[in-house]
Assembly symmetry: C2
Homo-oligomer: 580 residues x 2
Amino acid sequence: MWQYQAPLRDIRFVIEEWLKAPEDWKAIPEFQSLDLDLANQVVMEAARFSTEVLGPLNSSGDRQGCHFDNGKVSTPDGFPAAYSAYTEAGWPTLACAKEDGGQGLPMLLVAALMEMLYSNNHAWAMYPGIAHGAYRCLRAHAPQKIRDLYLQALVTGEVLPTMCLTEPQAGSDLGLINSRAEAEGDDSYRLTGNKIFITGGEQDFTENILHMVLARLPDAPKGPGGLSLFLVPKILPNGNRNHVFCTGIEHKLGIRGSATCSMNFDAAKAWLLGEPNQGLAAMFIMINSARLHIGLQGLGHAEAARQIASGYASERLQMRAVKLPQQQPRGAADPIEYHPAIQQKLMQLKSSTEGMRTLGYWVAHLDDISKHHSDSTQRVQAETWVRLLTPMIKAYFTELGFNLSSSALQVLGGHGYIQDNAIEQTLRDSRIAMLYEGTNEIQANDLLVRKVLGDDGAALQSLILRYQEEANVCSADSDCKHFSVALARVCSQLADISDELISSSAHDPEAPYFAAGEYLRIFGLVSFAFAWARSARLARDKSDVPFYASKLETAAYFFDQLRPEVNYRLALIRSGFRSP
Amino acid sequence: MWQYQAPLRDIRFVIEEWLKAPEDWKAIPEFQSLDLDLANQVVMEAARFSTEVLGPLNSSGDRQGCHFDNGKVSTPDGFPAAYSAYTEAGWPTLACAKEDGGQGLPMLLVAALMEMLYSNNHAWAMYPGIAHGAYRCLRAHAPQKIRDLYLQALVTGEVLPTMCLTEPQAGSDLGLINSRAEAEGDDSYRLTGNKIFITGGEQDFTENILHMVLARLPDAPKGPGGLSLFLVPKILPNGNRNHVFCTGIEHKLGIRGSATCSMNFDAAKAWLLGEPNQGLAAMFIMINSARLHIGLQGLGHAEAARQIASGYASERLQMRAVKLPQQQPRGAADPIEYHPAIQQKLMQLKSSTEGMRTLGYWVAHLDDISKHHSDSTQRVQAETWVRLLTPMIKAYFTELGFNLSSSALQVLGGHGYIQDNAIEQTLRDSRIAMLYEGTNEIQANDLLVRKVLGDDGAALQSLILRYQEEANVCSADSDCKHFSVALARVCSQLADISDELISSSAHDPEAPYFAAGEYLRIFGLVSFAFAWARSARLARDKSDVPFYASKLETAAYFFDQLRPEVNYRLALIRSGFRSP
């Protein structure tokens, strides 16, 4: 049976060497008291909590699932207690501001925590997963009275929030939302409507639940510009039960320990967050935060899959390998890790997983810089990059998370298909991440149409410059020269295809929508190339240490695959399929 | 809720126009009495049976699963009755020889039946799925006494067979099998050992079960050359219970209505089939038959996925499309089938599914020719091609079946993730086909190392000549010229990479194993190109009929994607990743 091993060595490499985060922290007043030792302690504690408390509940939670009875939801055995342990250890407070009772630590450390939560128990991690986004949203948009009532409870984890967006007829298209709210005359509203696919809409972790609900005011314009954001607490400040009830839960392919609820709001008491008809913008604080976390789900799944596959491949003996390492004794059959088809899968798992970790943590670190850095130029630039990278992180990472789970399952052969081996659950759990918080197709349109075409490629250009800078530094090192050349080459290919799409979209507005999916993958690949070129350069001088030697070898594998794949995806865009 | 519609129009196109099967049947004594009308009747009856009897049991069978209690297995409600209906309708007799009480119809019609069984209920179809292979094997290798006892019962479906190969330590590597058999002195043996992953090892469809078991005789050499094939009936000819028992069933990702059994043979009475130590060759009659059927599972899943996705996409309204067909009225939101990202998925589903049907049925037809054609040159050539195409059909189709199920699931967004919509089950069920009867990696090695390198590319060359012949015919038609050029081009690319691999393997025996996976995909793509070029040429003159217009449009889509993908996979092979 597989036992998760927190990838502490690689996490340390990313935080300390790749990001050089401690240097940046010095320039951020908020993080003055933070140093590498403290950061490492937090990461190790997060590893311990995830591994010891959540890991053991993953399979049992999946088999037991959630149960719905007359408006109440029971989560799997052990889930509520694990949440109590989570709040008692102070995990929800991690990145909340000190003035709100938080620890004021960086989102970078939250990213490490989240990766490990998702590797160990995706279903459980769904409940607290959006709490920090709700905290940010409430902090930015709630009136003082509401902040006084709930902000503290959100920081400590005493309450959990939900995001109530989807309705049966309104999924990707939030403009079709029908839920409505009418002013009560005091500062409150009455909100009526039905929502579906609400994670934790009902649960047994917390007494109270804060529903963040998109709905329409009576005079609101049609479409997304007529949505307002409301807070609907399950329990009202006076202790009464509000008129919001769970009417059922979904039976799903995966994340079965996560309660996906249908919710009925029956003139429920609500408070407006932010301005009327500006609800979508306010909600996007939560949505963007969620999208980054979902990218980390892809990483978490891939890391779990990588561990399961490589553990199995080192122990399973089948057939003789054509070649063996010198120190490996010949048997009647050899470990399958020495068979080429398995080697390729293991290398793919390693290169993708470490690439995701590097980029995912980088974006979390950029998020910290964008919010807290003392230099406003740095803040603005970091924010621009986070905005551009977010849809790629969400879509590309989750596609990888699922595909790599399938690839790892294949390493186990028929044994991968049965429940006793954890990988079939990883496959099922990972599949949701390509769908929720905006399908991956929505992310691709967001990246290309809104974020690249939207500013004629300006933000993209600044990011490509950053990537090229790395290529330049890399090129000075003769052992990394070929990585540098490859990175520079794919950077200019990305710039070229972006220019082409900017100009073709002017006369053919449908063209970018046909290109968007492959464009996002190319952008992902080029970003991975940036990550791997830098990793290789940093590992280069220490290649007598196995960890760094393996980094270099993995970089070489990545760059072998890179150009064929970039060229392929460019050719698909240019092959010109159009609607009939 | 999705309702399966048998793809009768396309099946007719393949049998009648693409294969021109009725012309070939005239040259086959066995099929003299067969004409198109009779073939169509059989296909329509198969459609009715699959749709009306099996379809309704698919979801319920998945949710209920199989249950094991004290050596007995209960299959889901309705499964045994559906099997009675199947045998009463004479389906098992379809392609059995008339002299054995069969109908003497072609395997081509079995392929159509199988496709529809798999689209409707993969789990159920597992039980009778290998019966025809066992019939062939028994017919070829069983002594007269055993044939007299069991052949008739296998033809009528009164008994069902199993394939007992896998043991805990012996999966891909059958050479590691430990089960052993000792002669009794009469014509029988005592067989002892443990087998796992045995489909229908125990069930409640038939009184008796015929286990086909690989085991070793006392003096057998080590490895695969020391395996002999035995028949172990559950109930002995004298009516006594044989000492073979089911010790448990697996809990699996999918095909939950199919009982996957662990079996214990405790000095069970056994009869030798074929010669001592020649068991693997005898078993390969069943294995090869099973591999073709598994390819048809990929097709069946893809067809189901295509139908689910296109039905949903035509009804689901979300967001305005940039462009709409002229006749489509503008709404507040448009059917998602008009959004480019969805269009691409639907076209991919259609082009792959129809391509698989054409090729899968072609191989079934070649199988008929190889066994029954009056001209021995044709028989030999057909057999050569079947042998070469089998691993591709198994691996490439099942990979497509799974990937297309995932793609179809994506079309449904979050709704694809919940049990109420059938697609999440299709995704789970389809995944097994990449694993069993030799993982797809084993198929890739079989294709390249055994079947291409094994005869220095001779068989492949004859197949490529057939493909090029189609390109030549196609090139005479100005509207199909570009398809012809593309087909000819990828044919020569396949020939080139084959030559390269033949020559590189001479000095680097590991090289083909690194190339095998992508090589199989290239071989698949080139075969699809052959199928689509011919389809386009046949559709060309009738393009005022919507069915043929859609064929042409789908061919155009396929050829747009073809060259980028072939070039990509060639580049991956040539990028040269080797083991560290």
